[in-house]
C-alpha cells in the first residue's frame, strides 16, 4: 500500500463538523508521519440536510504523485478504511445525491476495515450490515454516536478517538506519535485529547467478517437512462395521486419511487394504536407525509418514508402513544398497523419490548437535552461564570463568561 484512502460516513449537519475534523486530522496526522494528504467532502452531498447521510474523504500517500493518482477522480471508487460515525448507518445509506440504498461496506476493499462508533455487539451490527463478497474487518470504537447542531460543537473526544483507532489500523500511514503530535498542534487539540486517542488505540475491538456474514437484503438499485431516453425540457412525470387503503377507506399516498429517505432515520416512531384518539396531529404535522391513513381512522407511519424527525411524538397529545425508539432495534420496515391488526396482544408485547426502558433504548438526535442552551446559560449565571462553548471551538468559539 502506497496510499491510504479513507471515507468518513456520517449524519449530515449533525456530524458535519465532527467529520471535517476527522478528515483533517487524518491528513495532519499522516503529515507528522511524513506523508502527503488531502481531505475533502463529497460535493454531491452538499447542501447537507439534517440526518441525511453524507461523506468526507481523506487520502494520504507516500508521495505527491501517488496522492495525485488517487485524486484524479470525482470520488474514490474504493476505500481502505470506511469510518462510520453512527451505527444506524450500518443499515446502508441513501445519500441525497445517490439513487438507491448503498451498503455501508460497498467501497471497502477486500481485507479493508469498517471502523464504527457503536455500543452494539458485533453480531447485532452484522444483522444490519449487508453481506460483502470479500473478507473485511469490522472495528469498533465503543461510543455513542456524537451528534450536535451546526453551531455548537460537542466536545466528547470522538474525533481523536477515531484518529487513535486509525493509527492502530493503518500504522504505516498514521503512527500513534504522529497522531499525538497532530492533535497537540491542531486548533482544537489538547493534552487530554492526546490521551483519549491513545486509549482508543489500545481499546479498539476488531473482528474479521466472513463473506457468509451480514444482511442478505438486496438493495434497490437504479439504472441511469441515456440522454435520448430522458424527457426533454428537464421534465419528469409527477407523482400519481394516492388511493384509499382498502374497501374505499383510509388513504395511502403514492410515493417517490427513487428516493425513500428512511436511511436518514436514527429513531423511529412506535405507535400504540390502542391509545390513539385519531386527533390527526401526527398525520397533519408530518413534513414527510409518512402517515398512511388506515381504514379505522388511525395513522400508520410508513417506514419507507419516515425519516425519524420526531415531530409526531412531539405533537401527539396522548401520553406514550407515539414513542421515538432507537432505529438499531428494528430489523425491517414492516407496517406496525398490520402487525397490530393481526394480533393486538402480540403487538403490545412487541411494543413494550421496543419501548422498554426508555432511558436505555431511546436516543435523541444528539442534542444533549431539549432546551439545552437555556439551561447552559442558566448554569453559567448560577455559578458566576462557568465557561460554555458557543460556536465551534478553534474556529469561532466564544468562551463565554458572564
Amino acid at each position: 500500500m502506497a496510499a491510504l484512502i479513507c471515507e468518513v460516513v456520517y449524519r449530515g449537519i449533525f456530524q458535519k463538523n465532527l467529520a471535517a475534523r476527522i478528515a483533517r486530522g487524518i491528513v495532519l496526522s499522516a503529515r507528522k508521519s511524513g506523508r502527503w494528504g488531502i481531505a475533502f467532502g463529497r460535493y454531491g452531498d452538499s447542501p447537507q440536510r439534517n440526518g441525511i447521510p453524507a461523506k468526507d474523504f481523506a487520502i494520504v500517500a507516500d508521495s505527491k504523485e501517488e496522492l495525485e493518482q488517487n485524486m484524479a477522480r470525482y470520488e474514490p471508487k474504493h476505500t481502505d478504511v470506511t469510518i462510520v460515525l453512527d451505527d444506524t448507518l450500518a443499515k446502508g445509506v441513501e445519500s441525497w445525491a445517490w439513487y438507491g440504498l448503498q451498503p455501508i461496506n460497498r467501497l471497502t476493499v477486500p481485507h479493508g476495515t469498517v471502523l464504527m462508533t457503536s455500543l452494539q455487539s458485533f453480531d447485532e451490527l452484522l444483522k444490519d450490515i449487508h453481506k460483502k463478497d470479500a473478507i473485511y474487518t469490522l472495528a469498533l470504537v465503543r461510543a455513542r454516536a456524537s451528534f450536535s447542531g451546526l453551531w455548537v460543537y460537542r466536545e466528547d473526544h470522538t474525533e481523536v478517538r477515531i484518529l487513535g483507532a486509525l493509527a492502530r489500523i493503518a500504522p504505516s500511514f498514521l503512527t500513534l506519535d504522529g497522531v499525538g503530535q497532530a492533535i497537540k498542534e491542531i486548533e482544537w487539540g489538547s493534552d487530554l485529547k492526546v490521551e483519549s486517542a491513545k486509549k482508543a488505540y489500545g481499546r479498539i475491538e476488531t473482528r474479521e467478517v466472513k463473506i457468509t456474514e451480514g444482511s442478505a437484503e438486496i438493495p434497490f438499485s437504479f439504472g441511469l437512462p441515456k440522454w435520448w431516453e430522458m424527457r426533454e425540457g428537464v421534465t419528469i412525470p409527477a407523482i400519481p395521486v394516492g388511493k384509499p387503503k382498502e374497501g374505499g377507506k383510509g388513504y395511502v399516498p403514492e410515493r417517490n419511487p427513487y428516493f425513500k429517505k428512511y436511511t436518514s432515520r436514527t429513531m423511529r416512531p412506535v405507535i400504540d394504536f390502542d391509545k390513539c384518539v385519531k386527533c390527526t396531529l401526527c398525520w397533519i404535522q408530518c413534513p414527510d407525509s409518512c402517515f398512511d391513513v388506515m381504514p379505522d381512522g388511525t395513522y400508520d407511519a410508513n417506514m419507507e418514508a419516515c425519516c425519524g424527525c420526531g415531530v409526531c411524538e412531539a405533537v401527539c397529545p396522548v401520553e406514550q402513544c407515539i414513542t421515538m425508539v432507537n432505529e438499531s432495534l428494528f430489523e425491517d420496515n414492516a407496517s406496525q398497523w398490520e402487525m397490530w391488526r393481526t394480533d393486538k396482544d402480540r403487538y403490545q408485547a412487541w411494543m413494550a419490548g421496543k419501548i422498554g426502558d426508555k432511558v436505555a433504548t431511546v436516543r435523541s438526535h444528539g442534542f444533549r437535552f431539549r432546551g439545552q442552551y437555556e439551561q447552559e446559560l442558566k448554569r453559567d449565571l448560577d455559578t458566576g461564570g462557568v465557561e460554555i462553548t458557543a460556536g465551534i471551538p478553534g474556529e469561532n468559539a466564544q468562551h463565554k463568561t458572564v
Binding site: G44, Y74, A97, Y99, L224, P225, K226, W227, W228, M230, R231, E232, G233, V234, T235, I236, P237, A238
Partner: protein, 409 residues
C-alpha cells in the same frame, strides 16, 4: 405609423404598408395571434412594444400586455406563460438584454419557444444608443437561435418563420431576431403584409404537448440535477439545435410555397458573389453601404461580392465554407468586438476562421471591426477594406491582424 400606400401590391392579397422594422414585427405578431407579451422600456427595441400596444389598444390583437418592472422579470414572465401553452413575445436591447441574462440562460434547457426582438445597441458604459451586435451575441453558446435581418420585410417574414421553427416540437428553442438599432427600428420602408388566412396555413397553433404545465398533464419541470444528469441534458439541447438546421430549411421552403417569397438560401444572402474575387461578410444593415460600394467598385472592374449572414445560430458551416472558399480573399466586417480573442478579431471573423479550418481551400481572411456604437460605415471604409483584401489575395496570405475601420487615428 402604418400608412397604406396606393402602389399595387406584389401579391394580390398582400397589403403594402410603409412601416418600420419594429412595426413590421408587430404586424407579424398580430397575424400570429400572439397571446402574451411583456414590455420594458429601452431604446431602440421598445418601438416594437409601442407598436404592439397600439394594436392591442385598437383591438387588432387580443393578448396579455404586461409591463414588467425590469428585463429580468420581462423575460421570466413570458417564459412561464409559454410553459402553459401561450405564444409569447419579448425583446430588449443592450444592457437591458444583459439584465435579463439569467432568464435568457434558462430558456433553452426548459425548451421554451420564445421569439424575441433584439434591437442591437452598444453596451454601457458609456450609455449609448447606437448599434453594436455584442448584446445579442451574449447568448451565442446557450441554445438560442440567432438571426440578423436587414429590412422591414425581412423583419415581418422572419418573425413568422421564427415562430414556426421555435414552436416545432423537434426544436422548442428560443429565437432572437436581431435588428440594428435605429437603421431598422426607427426608419420606415414599404412592406408587404400577408392576409391572416395564409399565415394560419403556414403557422400552426403552438402545441406544448407533453411538456404542457397544466393539471391535466401533471409534470415536474426542472428539478435540481447533479453530475449524473447535466451532461445528458446539454446533449439533448445540442441535438435540438442540430435539428434546427433541417427545420429552418423546411420552414423557408414552406414560406415560399405559401407566400410566394423567401430566399432559396435561408442562411445567408449572396450579393454578386458568383464571380467575386473578394467576398465581404457582414450581418445586419451593414449590407446597405457594402452593396452600394460593391456596385461602385464593380463599375470600376473590381469583382467584389457580399455574403450577408442571416442565421448565426445554428451556424451554416458547410454552406458558408462552400460559398467563401471560392473567393481569392475574404473580408469579414464585424459590428462587434471580442476583446482578447484570437487575433483580437470580431466574433463573426473568428467563427468563420473556425469554420474554414477543415476546408480544402482556405482563402486569406481579413478581419475588420467597424461601425461600433452606431458609427456610420462609409463607402470609403468598404473601399479600404476591399483594397486590403486584394492585397492579401495577391500575397496569397493575410496578415492575421484585425483592422478597425472608421476610428480616428
Amino acid at each position: 405609423m402604418a400608412v397604406a400606400t396606393k402602389a399595387a401590391p406584389a401579391a394580390a392579397e398582400d397589403k403594402e404598408l410603409l412601416i418600420s422594422g419594429s412595426e413590421a414585427v408587430a404586424e407579424a405578431l398580430t397575424l400570429a395571434d400572439l397571446d402574451v407579451v411583456t414590455a420594458y422600456p429601452i431604446r431602440p427595441y421598445d418601438t416594437v412594444m409601442q407598436a404592439i400596444a397600439k394594436k392591442i389598444a385598437n383591438g387588432q390583437l387580443v393578448a396579455e400586455y404586461i409591463v414588467a418592472e425590469g428585463e429580468h422579470s420581462q423575460f421570466e414572465i413570458v417564459k412561464h406563460a409559454s410553459t402553459v401553452g401561450a405564444r409569447v413575445f419579448c425583446g430588449s436591447s443592450g444592457v437591458g438584454w444583459a439584465y435579463a441574462m439569467e432568464c435568457l440562460v434558462v430558456t433553452p434547457p426548459l425548451r421554451v419557444p420564445m421569439v424575441c426582438l433584439v434591437g442591437n445597441r452598444a453596451l454601457d458604459d458609456p450609455g449609448a444608443f447606437g448599434v453594436e451586435h455584442n448584446d445579442a451575441l451574449f447568448v451565442r453558446d446557450l441554445g438560442w437561435m440567432l438571426c440578423w435581418i436587414d429590412s422591414s420585410q425581412e423583419a415581418l417574414d422572419t418573425t413568422l418563420i421564427a415562430y414556426r421553427v421555435a414552436e416545432d416540437r423537434r426544436i422548442f428553442l428560443p429565437c432572437a431576431i436581431s435588428a440594428d438599432g435605429a437603421f431598422l427600428t426607427h426608419s420606415q420602408a414599404l412592406t408587404l403584409v400577408p392576409p391572416k388566412e395564409k399565415v394560419d396555413t403556414f403557422l400552426p397553433r403552438y402545441n406544448r404537448g407533453d411538456l404542457l404545465l397544466h393539471p391535466d398533464n401533471p409534470i415536474t419541470v426542472a428539478p435540481q440535477a447533479n453530475e449524473d444528469w447535466v451532461i445528458e441534458i446539454r446533449r439533448q439541447n445540442d441535438e435540438a439545435m442540430k435539428r434546427a438546421s433541417t427545420v429552418i430549411e423546411e420552414a423557408y421552403a414552406d414560406f415560399r410555397r405559401v407566400f410566394g417569397r423567401a430566399p432559396d438560401n435561408p442562411w445567408f444572402e449572396e450579393y454578386m458573389t458568383q464571380d467575386a474575387e473578394v467576398v465581404l461578410v457582414g450581418m445586419g444593415t451593414i449590407s446597405l453601404p457594402i452593396k452600394v460600394a460593391i456596385r461602385e467598385m464593380r463599375a470600376k472592374g473590381k469583382k467584389v461580392g457580399l455574403v450577408r449572414l442571416r442565421w448565426f445560430r445554428p451556424f451554416p458551416t458547410e454552406k458558408l465554407v462552400a460559398a467563401l472558399s471560392k473567393a481569392q480573399a475574404i473580408g469579414v466586417i464585424d459590428r462587434d468586438y471580442s476583446m482578447g480573442s484570437p487575433f483580437m478579431s470580431g466574433v463573426v471573423a473568428n467563427e468563420i476562421r473556425a469554420a474554414m479550418y477543415n476546408a480544402d481551400r482556405r482563402p486569406p481572411l481579413l478581419s475588420f471591426i467597424s461601425g461600433l456604437g452606431g458609427r456610420e460605415v462609409t463607402l470609403e471604409d468598404v473601399y479600404k477594406a476591399t483594397e486590403m483584401c486584394y492585397g492579401a489575395a495577391k500575397a496569397g496570405r493575410s496578415d492575421a491582424k484585425t483592422h478597425w475601420l472608421g476610428v480616428r487615428d
